[in-house]
Symmetry: C2
DNA sequence: GGCGGCATCTGAACGTTGTCAAGATGATCT
DNA sequence: AGATCATCTTGACAACGTTCAGATGCCGCC
């Protein structure tokens, strides 16, 4: 646990407390769930007083924002790997979704924090949606490469959103007990995810399949 | 404040406190958000001591379960109206989704509580999923009436889940600012919802569209 | 090289929360 | 009428988020 890339503001008294706090917070969230992550516990974990965090975050919610940010970056890595996977374009749409949901399954509490933060601000992090290399854009591009009409700007946008919504919905519901029987019948959770998200491959109306 | 329909267990000291607590809780959740709903505030609102709720709910989370239950029933009403609407079967799949998301938009805090409870237990309320008249079954039936193959049990189940996931995802993301431009371009939120969920109509592979 | 200033951290405190145990209250049943 | 038991209150506890006055140690400036 020693990311030694130093380029950040200032290692004053503690070294780099801000970072330490975020790391402790992520650890606590992933260990005991988002509800169990208290500011005081984070401070305890980092070995500082309960008031110390307030010099780096104005709020508990601002700490959670930082945790969420960390989460989005981890998700981006998983996403990138799926984009580069060797599969035919229509399947790649599906596999992008599978990677997305797998991340949510692997980091349930982190995923929850990510979306709770986004929803409170009614806003996704800019780097997820806006720039050229964003995850959102990546879905769009895969849809195009799978045969969606690239001139239908609006339709493409709607299809991308539909894909994202389906993946997010599945991410939040995949652990429901109701689906256990079906998962077993299909031979595992992965097959289940592919089964559901296979329907996403035909989202964009022009897609062959 | 005098709902005088009495048919419930026992109006002992207070009348029917349990009901009063749930109603107060729903009110507080819808007014100030789920985070602002404290047990003590609910008790205050109902005019009882902070410890009184513990004779009706073993936990705060059990009160929230009751709130969620209330929410699912309201959603069911909205759902029923959409099912009975006069539209062609393929559109009805979409309109079911629209009604779902509209409910989530109209009662954001309640909707949040509903899903937070479900997720904590990894379980949807039984009456939503299991019986013959459940909302889940209703989606399935509409898919069939829209042309999905009724003999492909597994495929039908997967399509139903995909629809539900897309609707849930959209419900949680529809308020994101990123979509404002697109909503404007399409001429309103409803058109946006139809645009996204129109892609759900082609979920079931056999659907004509 | 000392000094002032400032970012950083501590200590103690306030109000609020969820929860519990012990006692008061009052409806119901024999 | 008196016992019983669910119901509600009182009072308390630990934990939480947040604030504020003060201690601590790093920085640049003279």
């Amino acid at each position: 646990m020693k990311e030694s890339e130093a380029a950040d503001p200032r290692p004053y008294h503690h070294g780099d407390l801000r970072r330490a706090l975020v790391e402790a917070a992520v650890r606590l969230v992933e260990a005991d769930g988002p509800g169990a992550m208290s500011l005081r516990a984070v401070a305890r974990e980092a070995g500082v007083s309960p008031a110390a965090p307030y010099h780096h975050f104005k709020d508990k919610s601002e700490l959670l924002d930082a945790v969420a940010h960390e989460g989005w970056e981890k998700l981006d890595l998983a996403f990138q790997a799926a984009r580069d996977a060797q599969t035919s374009p229509p399947d790649r749409v599906r596999e992008l979704g599978v990677a997305y949901v797998r991340f949510a399954i692997a980091h349930p509490a982190l995923y929850r924090v990510m979306y709770d933060c986004s929803r409170d601000k009614a806003d996704m992090p800019a780097h997820v949606h806006e720039n050229e290399e964003s995850a959102y854009r990546r879905v769009r591009d895969v849809l195009v490469s799978a045969g969606a009409d690239p001139t239908d700007e609006v339709g493409l946008e709607l299809a991308t959103i539909a894909c994202w919504c389906a993946a997010h919905g599945l991410a939040e519901m995949t652990s429901f007990k109701q689906f256990n029987a079906l998962k077993a019948e299909l031979g595992g959770e992965d097959a289940f995810l592919r089964g559901v998200l296979g329907h996403v491959g035909v989202f964009a109306k022009g897609l062959q399949r």
